[in-house]
Symmetry: C2
Subunit: 345 residues, 2 copies
Amino acid sequence: MPRKKSDKTTIHDIAYELGLNASTVSRALNDNLAVSKKTRELVKAKALEMNYQPNHIAAALRRGRSNTLGVVVPAIDRSFFGRVIRGIEEEADGAGFRVIVCQSFDSSAREREMVDTLRGLQVDGLLISVAKDTGDNLDLYQKLISSGFPIQFFDNVPSSLEVVPAVIIDDRRGGYAATRHLIDQGYKRIAHLRGPQHLHIYRNRYLGYLDAMQEAGLEVNDDSVLEIVSHFDSGKEAFEELWKRKTRPEAIFSASDFSAVSGMKAALQLGLRVPEDIAFIGFSNEPFNELVSPALSSVDQQPITMGQIAAKRAIKAITSEDDEQPDDRLVLMPAVVVRESSGAK
Amino acid sequence: MPRKKSDKTTIHDIAYELGLNASTVSRALNDNLAVSKKTRELVKAKALEMNYQPNHIAAALRRGRSNTLGVVVPAIDRSFFGRVIRGIEEEADGAGFRVIVCQSFDSSAREREMVDTLRGLQVDGLLISVAKDTGDNLDLYQKLISSGFPIQFFDNVPSSLEVVPAVIIDDRRGGYAATRHLIDQGYKRIAHLRGPQHLHIYRNRYLGYLDAMQEAGLEVNDDSVLEIVSHFDSGKEAFEELWKRKTRPEAIFSASDFSAVSGMKAALQLGLRVPEDIAFIGFSNEPFNELVSPALSSVDQQPITMGQIAAKRAIKAITSEDDEQPDDRLVLMPAVVVRESSGAK
DNA sequence: TTGTATGCGTTATCAT
DNA sequence: ATGATAACGCATACAA
């Protein structure tokens, strides 16, 4: 029969068994140099034997530090975020930090809840990609930032905040590079399937498209651009709509891989050849791009690097003694990945 | 200037401001009926004003309950797990539970670490889909289960444990249904791309294939079955290998959507028509199945339902007073989703 | 209805 | 090198 009603072993239990004091056990378990090597090993052996599980939350309560990073993303089943999180975990692992992931499901109300929950769990820092339903969490974030709480935004950052510590990619550059690639391949009539323009990531991809077209002296008219709403369905409809217009495109730059693939599918069903009759390039470099036929060219957003850097900056802010000023934004460069769907004309 | 060095508001701060006692504040915040409606509102208003953030870990330490569920999956960027987690969160939300998600990256050593971490974080229950690198965590799980700790496995469960509380799908039935569907469509020479047979999910899908073939009196010989290793690349090679054999298949049932799609791609590149020359059906019902052309038929594993049920059972085990016996396994039925790739012959 | 006292498991500051 | 003690923020049994 155990000493206590709960069967959980604590440092007190170990101390009791060994005729020691709890503080010694605590020190031994934490590899404190003050405690003799002999007792240290004794304690560790006993801890193993008694199946001791350190209570991290008690330690966190006492220390005021949990060694935990909180992450909020719109949805973890989006491969981009999955890969960002992978990068975060890699970096956190190396620094002895745990990672807790929450989903906002693109609702800013839920995002706020998640932030509260994570703060209640005493996370030492926050990594956030804000919901598309960009609500009024700005106050919250402004307060958090100016209170000196370690926070890093990534990918989709709150738009109307002045100084935001963030890691983002240069979407405009990405849009430019994708379009430029098509131009270099010899295409002239290039259409753009753009995303909702109130989201700056989509707005910037569109601006990059315009940059490249203008630079090359190519015409952009009402027929060239079409806005898509939902990722999944509308690529097909968008393509069919484009194809009906009086000046048919030779190539399409889509702001999303999903609509690119579904547009491509619509093209194939019309009996068109890709890229001979119509070329495609998407954005995000989703894993399935390699699987479809023809394989879809795209723009890679370096999600793993993004996660690593964001985590690194957060951890630095946490561990550095002096309350340094919030880092400003760091901008990553996107990279065009050329596959079959945008071969030379 | 704040009363304390730390700027975090505690119930003591609120009590001080209001000339009350911390316990009253605690009660008020928890909607305890004992405290008068008036003070309750007063406290809540003050809490809001002072931007009070409840310290959940302190509460958890005191209560011995964290209202948190720990989830361990091989990788969150696999859409199946993403959807299971969605189901878990839905269920947990409704019951006032938080969810912490960790990844094992298919390493049982890391899986063990994650379990320890989560237990250290005082999660009230554990939901686990075990790593493919099925190591020797059996002792750990056996101990956990018999100690009465609320734990639920899902999808991939530890194989060599007798009584395992788990929610799984009937993979054998799924393999049978997929193959049966092809048979019903009129195909006779049906090949199977099977996964590593030491994993029972793949073994069962293979057995289901055999069931259906045998039932229909169709021949299965050495040419019919091929084992694939990595999801991504080997579908192509596997298909080319199958196509070289003396009896070419008319249809292929692949144990994974990834290899099905990449096999399909290889077929298309050989100039074959799908499904006229060769039909395909995969397994898992990945989202990209709808996007590829032709759209890939597959077997749906009901991931959201799986998550909901697993969470529900875990929460029930947590909240029910009596230490009831561990639930045994609950088996979900998979559903064939017919798309273009397996049209009638 | 509210206040007082205690403890959850750990770590840090003393003292020895 | 080790022990005694207090404190982290909260919830609860008990007292008033």
